[in-house]
Each structure stands twice: as structure tokens, then as C-alpha cells.
């Protein structure tokens, strides 16, 4: 990670150490003072950055593709580097506020915790300065292309912002005067739109806002060459020449995301979304797996619902049948033991009836006699 710091002395010793290590500079003795680090830093890193700067800007662009990306990195890098530099100088309150912006659960910033939180903030700030990841790469390369095409409308929105995570939006906004962080589709002519699947055509690259001073110029030549072939599928014309670092990841990522897409002449390509369950093409079964599909299943389900009560019904039926059998057999006078009981009972009833009748007759004579 290149750090373009005016005064390395502003960096902490640890930071200097990591910077030197990044530049493959042999570190001084562990107990050497910060001055040694600063000295080494100035000597090596500054020299290196000087070379980068020199090969910058106008003419060098075509041949030094690497420097191009360096420059673009520098743009974003400088801003974040400044921030990184300042992390050590933030007050406790500011440091805590910045960490809270990133959603970090920050505890008290005391002596023992301060370095840890500074380190954490640096890590959080880092992705913005490192274009190898998709987002900033997009920004840089689009910003480069901005200047190129004057004949086409300049007022193109950049929906690539939607592609990136929030962290990259800062880089976008630096370069983008129009400030579009909107997500969405825009179809503005043949080769100039961002389908939702983020497969921008090469023409799209030209439709950037006209900012991006240093970065853009060098790419002009290349872009003009590519204009003729603009209609060709996304990224094939521009890619690897001037922005290898950014282009490759861009196309790779797009291709990874949508490996099946074929380059189309207009650059338009729509990727089918995964079909919604229950929509056409997907049987309802998947959406409502519990719904019975055939009448047989329906019946089975109905039966199952009645399964439990069925046994009870059978029991009741058997009981009733048995009772009826007993009664019937009693009527028939079948000399079985159950019937014998019934006969016996009926005999008892006969006796009772006889008693009653005798009682009745005994009752009568007094009455009769009384009357006479």
C-alpha cells in the first residue's frame, strides 16, 4: 500500500515499520529510535513514490499502465492516507466517533486500548485505499474514462455505484460530481446503461462525469481507439491494456457473477433472476408442499383425519350389536345361559304380576262385600 506522506515523522513508529516492511526495506534494529525508521522511510518509500509521480500524468499513461493505476490509487490513497496519518492524532473522542461510524462497539479509549482502536480504525479505512478490490477499481476505471468521450452525452449516471459496497462510495463521490450512488437501471441509448446484472458495455465507460483530472488524460488515446469497437461486448476492448489491475477484477467479477452470459452486440444482457417459487415454471407444489395434488391424496388425508374416531365408532357399533343380539335372543326364547337369565327374569316378573293380581283380587271382595 503506497503511502504518500509528506512528513513521515507524523506516522507512528509502528506504522513506519509496517510501511517499510511493505516496501521490502530491511528494518533497523528493534531498539532503534523512530528517527531511524523515518530516515529509512524517507529514503526508500519517498524515492519510490517519487518515481511513481514522475511517470504520472500525460504522456506516460499509455506505456505505464501501472503508473496509471498508481495515480488513481494515489488519488484515493492520499485522502485515506491523510486520514490514516491522522488516526494517531485524533483525540479519544474523535477516534471513538469514527469507530462508531463503522459500527464498532467501542469501549473506553484509555492508554491500553488506544493503540488497538487506532489499528482497528486503520483497518477499516484501508479498503478504500486499496483498489484491487472491486469497488474502487470500478471507480477508478470509470473515472479515467470520463474525459474521453465528449461527443456523447456527458450527463450519464453511474449506476456502478450500486455495485460496490458502501466503502467504495467515498471514492466514487470524490470523482463524481453528479454524486450518483443510486441503484437502478438506466437505459440511455445503446451501449450506455447498466443492466441490473452489472454487465456494463464498453460504451458505458465513456459516460462518466468529466472529472478525474490526472487519471483520465492518459487513457484518452486508448479510449479513442476503442471507440470504434465500443459496441463490442463489455470490457473486451478496453480491458487489460491500461487498467489491468482494475479491468481484470471487473470483468472477472462480472463473469463470475454471471458466467452464462454471452456478449451481445448491443452490450445489453439481461440475466434471468432465479425463478420465484410459485411463479410460472415452478409447480405450486414447491410453494405449498402440503397441498394435496391428487384426489387420491385428498381422500387419504380425509381418512386419516377420521382415523381416530373410526375406532370409537366401531366399538360403539359392536356394543349396540351385542345388545340387539341379546334382546333378539330373549324374544326367541333360545335356551342359552344368557337367555335363561332373561327367562328367569321374566319369570320373576310373572310372579310379581301374579302377586299384584292376587293383591288386586283380595282388595276387591271387601269392596264387593261392603256394597252388599
Amino acid at each position: 500500500m503506497p503511502s504518500f506522506v509528506e512528513d513521515p515523522a507524523q506516522l507512528s513508529k509502528r506504522r513506519l515499520r509496517s510501511e517499510l516492511a511493505a516496501h521490502s526495506v530491511p528494518l533497523p534494529a528493534a531498539d532503534s529510535g523512530k528517527e531511524a525508521y523515518v530516515e529509512l522511510y524517507r529514503r526508500h518509500v519517498a524515492a519510490r513514490s517519487g518515481a511513481d509521480f514522475s511517470s504520472d500524468e500525460d504522456e506516460g499513461r499509455g506505456q505505464a499502465g501501472g503508473s496509471g493505476e498508481e495515480a488513481s490509487i494515489r488519488d484515493e490513497g492520499q485522502k485515506t492516507e491523510l486520514e490514516v496519518m491522522d488516526v494517531s492524532q485524533l483525540t479519544d473522542v474523535e477516534l471513538k466517533a469514527r469507530l462508531l461510524q463503522y459500527g464498532v462497539n467501542v469501549g473506553p479509549i484509555v492508554a491500553s486500548t488506544r493503540t488497538l482502536y487506532e489499528k482497528k480504525l486503520r483497518i477499516l479505512l484501508k479498503p478504500v485505499s486499496q483498489p484491487p478490490l472491486n469497488g474502487a477499481g470500478y471507480a477508478a476505471q470509470y473515472s479515467d474514462v470520463e474525459d474521453e468521450d465528449d461527443d456523447d452525452d456527458d450527463d450519464e449516471e453511474r449506476d456502478y455505484g450500486s455495485v460496490h459496497a458502501g466503502g467504495h462510495l467515498e471514492a466514487d463521490e470524490e470523482q463524481d460530481q453528479e454524486g450518483h450512488n443510486q441503484v437502478g437501471l438506466r437505459f440511455q441509448g445503446d451501449a450506455r446503461y447498466y443492466p441490473q446484472c452489472f454487465l456494463p458495455s464498453s460504451g458505458m465507460l465513456e459516460s462518466r462525469s468529466p472529472d478525474i483530472s490526472k487519471v483520465a488524460t492518459g487513457t484518452k488515446d486508448l479510449m479513442k481507439d476503442k471507440n470504434a469497437t465500443r459496441k463490442s461486448p463489455a470490457f473486451s476492448p478496453k480491458p487489460s491494456v491500461f487498467r489491468p489491475q482494475f479491468k481484470e477484477p471487473v470483468s472477472d467479477i462480472l463473469m463470475e457473477m454471471f458466467p452464462g452470459t454471452e456478449p451481445t452486440p448491443t452490450g445489453i444482457s439481461a440475466t434471468c433472476r432465479r425463478p420465484i417459487k410459485g411463479a410460472a415454471g415452478r409447480p405450486v407444489q414447491f410453494k405449498y408442499p402440503d397441498t394435496p395434488s391428487s384426489p387420491g391424496t385428498k381422500e387419504r388425508r380425509e381418512l386419516q383425519r377420521h382415523l381416530v374416531p373410526t375406532w370409537i365408532q366401531m366399538l360403539v357399533f359392536l356394543l349396540v350389536a351385542f345388545l340387539f343380539y341379546l334382546i333378539f335372543s330373549a324374544m326367541q326364547g333360545v335356551p342359552d345361559s344368557p337367555s335363561a337369565v332373561l327367562l328367569h327374569r321374566s319369570g320373576h316378573e310373572g310372579e310379581l304380576l301374579g302377586d299384584l293380581s292376587s293383591f288386586a283380587t283380595s282388595e276387591d271382595p271387601p269392596l264387593v262385600s261392603g256394597e252388599e
Binding site: 469501549g107 473506553p108 491500553s112 486500548t113 488497538l116 482497528k120
Partner: protein, 90 residues
């Protein structure tokens, strides 16, 4: 950490009271000595640092690695030990 050491289990089983810092899981003699030199002579002082970092496992692991040169395994072990202790007693 699916398996815990005996040291871990011993530490988490009871309040740490005045246990030395070497009683922490993952902290042996060498690391214990370094921590003591830095002023973390008792386990509760290390606990204090853990709490000041709001029991953030990541931050504490990093801190431990920075301060006494623990490797990832040792630091993770110690962090896990402290975290479980806090869950049990704090």
C-alpha cells in the same frame, strides 16, 4: 474451541479471586512472566483489560498477542477462558 483444557475448566469453575495470571488457560510460564513484568500480575488485571475492551474477543486476542507475544492459539485459549468466566460469574 470445542475441547477445553483442564486448566480452562479449573479456571472457569470458580471465582478467580487472587489467582495468578498463569492460571489462565493458554498462559504458561513464559507468557505469564511477560505479563507480570508489564504489570498484569494477577488474573483479574487481565480480566480488567478484557472488560475495558468490552469483552470483544477479537480485540482482546489482538491485544494479548501484541503485548506479550502470544500466538494465535494461546491468545484464543485465554480469551475463551475469560469469556466463559465472565459468562458464568459476571
Amino acid at each position: 474451541m470445542l475441547t477445553t483444557s483442564q486448566k480452562h475448566r479449573d479456571f472457569v469453575a470458580e471465582p478467580m479471586a487472587e489467582k495468578p495470571v498463569t492460571a489462565l488457560a493458554g498462559i504458561g510460564d513464559v507468557l505469564g512472566k511477560k505479563l507480570e513484568e508489564l504489570g498484569f500480575d494477577k488474573a483479574y488485571v487481565v480480566l480488567g483489560q478484557f472488560l475495558v475492551l468490552k469483552k470483544d474477543v477479537e480485540l482482546f486476542t489482538e491485544w494479548l498477542k501484541d503485548i506479550c507475544g502470544a500466538n494465535s492459539r494461546q491468545a484464543a485459549s485465554c480469551t475463551q477462558c475469560l469469556k466463559e468466566w465472565c459468562d458464568a460469574f459476571l
